[in-house]
Symmetry: C2
Subunit: 300 residues, 2 copies
């Protein structure tokens, strides 16, 4: 058991933990117990309860955490690491502590900096997946997409994140499909590839976004998009809008679960972009594994 | 009383009526009694109740209506007039009927066509304001903005609408400020010119929209935008994004109430656009007045 440790991704809505032996997953836990559900800042007690199946080990297992757990709304507000951010910076910025039951713990910082469009930007959690991508697929340069509520597009050089940009793709899809005129009075939706493709192609034509999305209304009115396919069309508009920003730079990686990456692969084909999917958990564990070994070296 | 008539703007959420004598307003009514509130398609009975202060005239006053009253959700689904659309087309496409109390009535059609970005587009009601603008300020060409939930940008030549594009500026502002992460946990908002200007300037830099808006989050996190000014900043982003589309073409008109046009004038100065405000009701009444006189000629 000497080399066993626990890797945790603790976000605002979900808690996921992995028990590792020599960086191989031997058990996993997943609970809808995000940071928002933690009452009165009882983070230690909550973690102890969540990890109870694994806490009989002697000595207590080391725990390495990433994600919103290191934010203002989390356990400890760990200052962001600046760009360029590599494994060394993240280890140096990690918050080290000991849990009430004696486990040595670390919370890895997020990253902040300036996006390639000159805007301030932040991430917490995705930096781990990016490091893992570079471990799994070493290269001089990486261009990676991390789809989600707030998608990230990041560039790495020699395994260091040099910049990244957030795209509110997932949140905009939810808002527009559930709360706006575009999603009003729709029947049960069925996925439809041709409507999705029409959305991607329309987005590539470069209309201003606030005009672009109104086509989900007008194409429904004129019958070009069936009422059951409006979500597919809207998804195409949003992913197409995000991918249009990447056109000149390729090939790229898309990191996430198959459920998240499938539509991106489909859109990339339409855009003419070479996109390769990599499993997000796989990247997360390899990224955190790298940090864990650097921490071990540092404290040895 | 011979030349008296009633002009009506009946939308989904509001009902507004004007009693005119020789095209001068002598009385007005306004009720939060939009088409959505009309039960069981009782449009005639509802109208009779709303207009009751004016219905003792003999003979019964002519009524000319525009807006969503002519849509699928309205009293009568009046087919859209195609582009290019001038006063003649709108009169030809008008639906003529007689109310139960004997008033001759007309519902003016909306307009559909292809936006300058090649997308299908529709409007109902704004075409009247555009005609009125051309009556009030005759010119060979007009470029006009009509701010709102779904803003319109329209081009006219010789008083005919040649194309128009819808921007979901107002609805996006509501969604993002009320329902998204960007508006979460905000204190009471106060208007702030510098934050608005920063939003406009940021939008002009041309970042993809779904990345652009995330700056309302990051600039709040890093203190560049105070929590009480996030709405002003977001408003600047959205209006700046809309105006960026106009950069090359000027001068332009902005048609609406002072409450709607003030921020556009402010943004136009930052963008370097010459924008002149015109009162929306004034345009509406002159546009409908023109149609009313053409209808009179036609039936004379």
């Amino acid at each position: 058991m000497k080399n066993n440790w626990i890797a945790i991704d603790w976000g605002t809505t979900n808690f996921r933990a992995f028990l590792l032996e020599n960086n191989q997953v031997i058990d996993r836990l997943s609970e809808p117990c995000g940071l928002l559900s933690v009452k009165e800042a009882q983070f230690a007690a909550t973690l102890q309860r969540l990890l109870s199946p694994w806490l009989d080990a002697t000595p207590p297992l080391p725990i390495v955490m990433a994600g919103m757990v290191g934010s203002q709304q989390g356990w400890k507000n760990v200052p962001y690491a600046p760009l360029p951010a590599g494994a060394g910076n993240l280890v140096d910025g990690a918050y080290a502590f000991r849990t009430p039951w004696g486990s040595p713990g670390w919370i890895i910082p997020g990253v902040n900096g300036t996006s390639r469009y000159g805007q301030p930007d932040v991430m917490r959690g995705e930096e781990i997946q990016l490091l893992g991508l570079a471990v799994l697929h070493p290269a001089e340069k990486h261009l990676a997409l991390l789809p989600g509520t707030h998608s990230k597009q990041a560039r790495m050089v020699h395994g260091e994140i040099i910049d990244f940009s957030t795209f509110m793709t997932g949140e905009l899809f939810s808002l527009l499909s559930e709360q706006s005129l575009l999603g009003r009075d729709l029947p049960l939706q069925t996925p439809h590839d041709a409507s999705f493709a029409l959305g991607v192609e329309t987005a590539l034509q470069g209309a201003p976004f606030s005009h672009l999305i109104f086509s989900a209304r007008t194409r429904r009115l004129n019958g070009e998009v069936a009422t059951e396919h409006v979500h597919s069309y809207l998804s195409g508009l949003l992913i197409g809008h995000e991918l249009a920003a990447l056109e000149a730079e390729r090939p790229a990686w898309v990191v996430g679960s198959p459920a998240l990456t499938a539509r991106y692969l489909q859109a990339a084909e339409i855009v003419g972009l070479t996109l390769t999917a990599v499993d997000g958990d796989h990247c997360f564990l390899h990224g955190l594994g790298l940090l864990r070994s650097l921490i071990q070296e540092k404290i040895a």
